[in-house]
């Protein structure tokens, strides 16, 4: 025993000297194999990559579909189905080269014909990113497929980050009969209940580690907890697992209805919210900076100050997304009551909360594309047009210097916020809880749970 201890001490001492100043990685994984069961709320009826909101829809879109480009953590386009691109005509023409390994789930190669068809479908969708792109593309010949391996986009004038809209889930490339080319291949679903997706060996970034992912509908919170506790579900929404600060909690006021048609009333509502206290008490991991975009997309340039508003005397109806934590919505209702607003709350589905018909709307919002310009463009569409905001966003889309563009986007965000039609409450973490031994899950800045690098221990 003594000898054994001294060996151990000796080896540990060697190892201590050898140790490098890095976080440890695992020898065990990543490991191929296994099935992951993920519970979602709002299970969509279809895997069609068309526009639409909701965590489940974006999760499934990321599993089953792939886009021409992705967006990195800095908001810059990165290769996906396209392996790269070049620009010509002083930045008005962008030529994307498709990966020669890109293939659909049915085994056919992805060609520029399918990419062009997907682009046309995308441009006709309700996606805010598609609207931006449609307005920016040349009206005569917006896009062509000169050969099977290339897609050419033509813009009416040089634009900043012109390919970023192609990272929208609605821009996914699909083949005949809707075949996708995402990391997982969907099998026959039980509509609105359950769907199994199996690993796709031909994915452009390689076969994912998991053999399959089962996405199941979590109709009731108690059921989800019971299933998680019983080991029937491996990943559930909410909790202390993988997380990212990727949702904005926004209170939208309808400026066409009293009392919010008066700027001072909107200012009073904004001033009634003690953001720091809400975050500290009710939104652990949140950020109280009064900015409309989360810090990862556009770092806030404003410091938080709490200025109580003037007294109001009115009754309003407020639509609240069911994914807003009840204690938070109750606290906000109480805050509004403190300045004289009687609030009648109605709950709505998360996908409908941002556009519900009500004098006030309280909702969690994540951008379709985690790029500051597109995100602000998407947010601006949720409020009545403001000339200053539109001018700033237009200027930002033409500004090719990314530092100057960022400054313009800050001005646009401030202008959008100053109207107090969209009032930022807090940046909120989107989080999940995962069973022990499950690794590689992440949540991106669009609030999407990403599973293509997920793996589980034996």
């Amino acid at each position: 025993m003594g000898a054994s201890r001294s060996i151990a001490a000796r080896l540990l001492a060697v190892a201590a000297v050898l140790a490098l100043p890095h976080a440890a990685r695992s020898a065990l994984g990543p490991r191929y194999g296994g099935v992951l069961v993920v519970a979602v709320r709002d299970m969509p009826a279809s895997l069609d990559p068309g526009a639409g909101h909701g965590a489940a829809r974006s999760l499934l879109a990321g599993l089953a579909h792939e886009t021409l480009v992705g967006i990195d953590a800095d908001g810059l386009p990165v290769p996906a189905l396209a392996q790269g691109w070049t620009s010509a005509a002083e930045g008005r023409e962008w030529r994307l080269a498709l990966r020669d390994t890109a293939m659909f789930h049915d085994g056919r190669a992805v060609t520029s014909d399918e990419a062009l068809s997907a682009l046309r479908r995308f441009l006709g969708s309700r996606s805010p990113a598609a609207a931006w792109l449609a307005a920016a593309l040349d009206r005569e010949t917006p896009a062509t497929a000169p050969d099977p391996a290339h897609l050419v986009l033509r813009f009416s004038e040089p634009r900043a980050l012109p390919l970023a809209p192609l990272a929208a889930p609605a821009a996914a490339v699909t083949g005949a009969r809707g075949a996708g080319c995402g990391p997982f291949l969907p099998l026959a679903p039980v509509p609105k209940k359950r769907i199994r997706l199996t690993a796709f060996a031909g994915h452009v970034r390689g076969r994912p580690y998991l053999d399959a992912v089962d996405v199941v509908d979590a109709a009731g919170g108690e059921t989800v907890e019971a299933d998680f506790g019983a080991g029937r579900v491996d990943v559930v929404p909410g909790g202390d697992g993988p997380s990212s600060l990727s949702a904005s909690l926004i209170l939208a006021l309808d400026a066409s209805r009293p009392p919010f048609d008066r700027p001072e009333a909107r200012a009073a509502v904004s001033g009634a919210l003690d953001r720091a206290d809400i975050v500290r008490r009710l939104l652990p991991g949140g950020d109280a900076a009064p900015a409309l975009l989360v810090p990862g997309i556009l770092p806030p340039m404003v410091a938080y100050t709490h200025v109580p508003g003037a007294a109001l005397d009115a009754s309003v109806r407020m639509a609240v997304g069911v994914d807003v934590p009840p204690l938070v919505s109750q606290r906000i209702v109480a805050s509004l009551g403190a300045v004289g607003l009687q609030v009648d709350v109605v709950t709505v589905a998360p996908a409908d909360a941002a556009t519900a018909s009500a004098a006030a709307r309280l909702f969690l919002w994540s951008p379709e594309v985690a790029e500051a310009g597109l995100a602000l463009h998407e947010l601006a569409a949720l409020a009545p047009p403001v000339a200053e905001v539109e001018e700033s966003l237009a200027a930002a889309s033409r500004e090719l210097d990314l530092d100057r563009r960022r400054a313009i986007l800050h001005a646009a965000e401030a202008a959008l916020r100053d109207q107090a039609k969209l009032i930022p409450v807090a940046s909120v973490p989107v989080s999940f809880r995962a069973r022990a031994g499950v690794h590689g899950l992440r949540v991106d800045l669009s609030g999407r749970l990403v599973l293509e690098d997920a793996w589980r221990e034996p």
């Binding site: 000796r10 060697v14 140790a19 440890a24 695992s26 020898a27 065990l28 060996a201 076969r207 031994g437």
Partner: protein, 395 residues
Amino acid sequence: MKGPAPPRRAAVLLAVLAFAPPAFAAPALVRLAEGFAGEVVRVARGRPVEVTVPEDRTGHGASLALDLHALVLERLKGRAEVRGSGPRLRVRSVLSETPAGLVLSARVVEEPGGALVDLVSVSAPADESVIALSPVPAPPGPAALDVRSTGQTPLLEEPVLDLAFFGDDRLVVLGPDAVALYKWGDGGLTLESRRPWPGHLDTVRFPGGLLRVAERDSAFWAITSRSPRALLFAVEEGRLVERQQADALPWPACPAGLRYRAGTNLIEGSVAGLGPGPFLALDDSVPGLAVNADGALAESAVNGLAVGPALASLWPGVVAAASPRPPGDDDAILVVALRGGSTDAPRVLESVRVDGAVRALASHARGESVRLVAAVEDAEGGTRLLAMDLARLQP
């Protein structure tokens, strides 16, 4: 803890010196010193300078920074006045390492006062043909297992899928895109030949690779999960040449050979005594032993100890294996005693902690000792080789 007896102390010192030349012995360090001295002269514009010893962040030890400091001072002679007091520019630098080479970055401030004058950064590519091993002295102390010397390389240019000794003084390094042959010398590992893997390579998220030295050390087989073909390489006039291709990697007691399951790092093939797999690692010097797909050390079809996906024989009945530790924990090289036909389960004799994931292991007997080489991947995905000379001490 007692120190070693003088003869052993000398042996340890000699063993350490076998790895002794600093990682960037001549050309890279000299280039870096020359470039840096030129920048200091440019910024100084005739003013006196004080150049402090660089802060070493390479992990290779203080000697590298001291050597570099001496080289810089040498190259400033006659070009700039160097002094440690009075009005001067103080140059405080940091030496770091990237996969491409060494980087020396410095703040130049005015003294007295400390006003920032300039920022300087100079880099020098690593010598492509030499992977030097930096020594790490083994601590003294009596033990049954003696770590006689240790050394580690700078970051390699690509990940390592498998390692194999090729004869007494050569090491085969299998990467995702190429196979390379290094010769072991006093200065470390010198690249003799590198062959890109021919043909189309599949995209694999976490590829696997397997080497098997064959034909009495005159050739070796290699396969990766990025290619469906196994290749036989030989060395002719110091260069790797491709001799043969096969649908599977020939393996002892495996008539149909081994191949990778498409898109994974899982090895398939029916090995006598082990079944059809899939496996994460095998070592042909220990027949009947493998790491199965669940990370269990499978010994003659009996699944036992949990380990990671790397394996190498040390002595009869003793192997080295990666640890099964999950992310967030330190990884380790496990020294495992096999069952050896007894009813005892395999057991871990020792565990050597390493900071990073052990991706591949190779071993070679050198007289009474064994040289064990591990490919260790750090948190940023860079890979270094860690070499240890191990010996069993007599009780």
